[in-house]
Assembly symmetry: C2
Homo-oligomer: 279 residues x 2
């Protein structure tokens, strides 16, 4: 019997995962009521079957791939329906702090619905790219891991709800944090007249950081706005450790400044980075 | 004619640099009045010639290699003497913010003494290790660069006072900052049950960050206390950029917590890092 996977909501990652699962023989459905034309077109291009919200409870596995702020509201909206049907396992794939994931999980568990904490590592799958990895934790993780049989790389962590999200947070805190540190120091170096020397010294004594800077800085500008919320989630994740919380709140501010600066076209901050990269 | 180099004060870096210069044929002197037995022994082992403070003005080049907090007081103490003699070029080699370096430089320039901003990259020279690099900026940098003829690698930046220190700050802000980010996220991951997964994922998808963590975390514990002041200098360096200042002040707090924790033997923070490294 073919599994049915429901996907909420088909943004660029969601639609690409949906298409990938459909190409691997699964029945993939989504809801589109009230969604934009762009979303409808993305869903159609991915070959996703449109269903009414009431039919979501017929899916075996529901994947929530939404902006961080929508993760909890979506769970609250769907919990009564899914809890009544008791067929679906709800998988939250979003980049949210473990404490937020626990709230999402509690909402579904209280309603009687099985819940899995998951995190996505990598870029959307496409014919040219490999599929990103999914990590999953919580007692029902094995139900989500059935998708391994359909080509989706799901790694189960033998750990409770919160572990998959904690992994996502800590990994992003290091990688996206490093990009933020480089941006901050490149800007300061350019202002102090040592931009060229920093570039030469990194190239010579820290080639891997030099490459990181060249590759990740230009890739970051258009994502800076999205990373603000992610850094805030990481701050919440690190909250038991006061200096770490302050550190990631400052990182969120740094990305906010870069994003605003770029949107305004004033571009002091971005211009300093571009000047440095062009040296 | 052999150049005379004065070294203030012979700590582990200063004494090793002194010995290196002496081995390369220079006359190297230092003052030892009021210094500890350990410092006297280090100076003797390095073969440094002891002089009275009044004789420092006879040196061609004076290197200040002191803890960050002593950089300005030392300049204030020596400026009148060196300004009277007008023979010595004063080279500040300390890890201090460009704004602090400018104060140091102004103190000496006002007194009539030539000044160079410098920064040291690397560990103390020894028979087993190569000599660290010195960067120098400011109009008198070429006088310090004469030491290239005696084997000391001095790179002149065609930039004003502040550039060499800015380079040191921005480089340390990236490298020591990265170690801090990893420490913060490893601690949070261990608390959320995702420590092992973070280790596996880094090893697989970011091998260079995995190696950095394994090499730099254990190396950092004993230095954490010293890095507090360095992170505060970097915050001052980044001050025109508000989020960066807050970021490095938080980083200073993070290293402070690690250092205190280790000194108290309670070791929660360090224990989390060690547990993770041993996985």
């Amino acid at each position: 019997m073919t599994l049915t996977v429901a996907l909420i909501a088909p943004g660029s990652m969601g639609a690409a995962v949906g298409r990938y699962l459909r190409d691997h023989g699964l029945d993939v459905c989504t809801t589109l009521a009230g969604r934009s034309v762009a979303t409808r077109e993305r869903a159609a291009a991915a070959g996703l079957r449109e269903v009414e919200q009431e039919q979501l409870g017929e899916a075996d596995i529901l994947l929530s791939i939404v902006p961080p702020s929508e993760a909890l509201p979506l769970a609250q909206e769907l919990a009564p329906l899914l809890g009544r049907m008791k067929k679906t396992v709800y998988v939250d794939c979003n980049a949210i702090a473990p404490a937020t994931v626990e709230q999402v999980g509690q909402t579904l568990t209280d309603a009687g619905c099985a819940f899995v904490d998951a995190a996505i590592f990598g870029t959307p799958p496409s014919p040219e790219r490999t599929c990103p990895s999914f990590y999953a934790s919580g007692e029902h993780a094995a139900r989500f891991a059935q998708l391994n049989d359909y080509g989706l790389p799901v790694k189960v962590l033998e750990a409770p709800i919160g572990a998959a999200s904690g992994l996502k947070m800590s990994y992003a805190g290091i990688t996206k944090g490093l990009t933020g540190l480089i941006a901050a120091m490149v800007q300061a170096a350019e202002r102090s007249g040592s931009g060229q020397a920093l570039r030469d010294e990194l190239k010579c004594s820290q080639p891997m950081l030099y490459e990181w800077a060249n590759e990740k800085l230009p890739d970051m500008y258009p994502k800076a706005y999205r990373w603000v919320a992610e850094m805030e989630e990481i701050a919440a994740f690190a909250q038991k450790d006061r200096p770490s919380e302050a550190l990631y709140l400052a990182m969120a501010q740094l990305y906010w400044r870069l994003a605003e600066n770029r949107a305004a076209g004033a571009g002091n901050d971005v211009a300093e980075l571009e000047k440095w990269l062009a040296r």
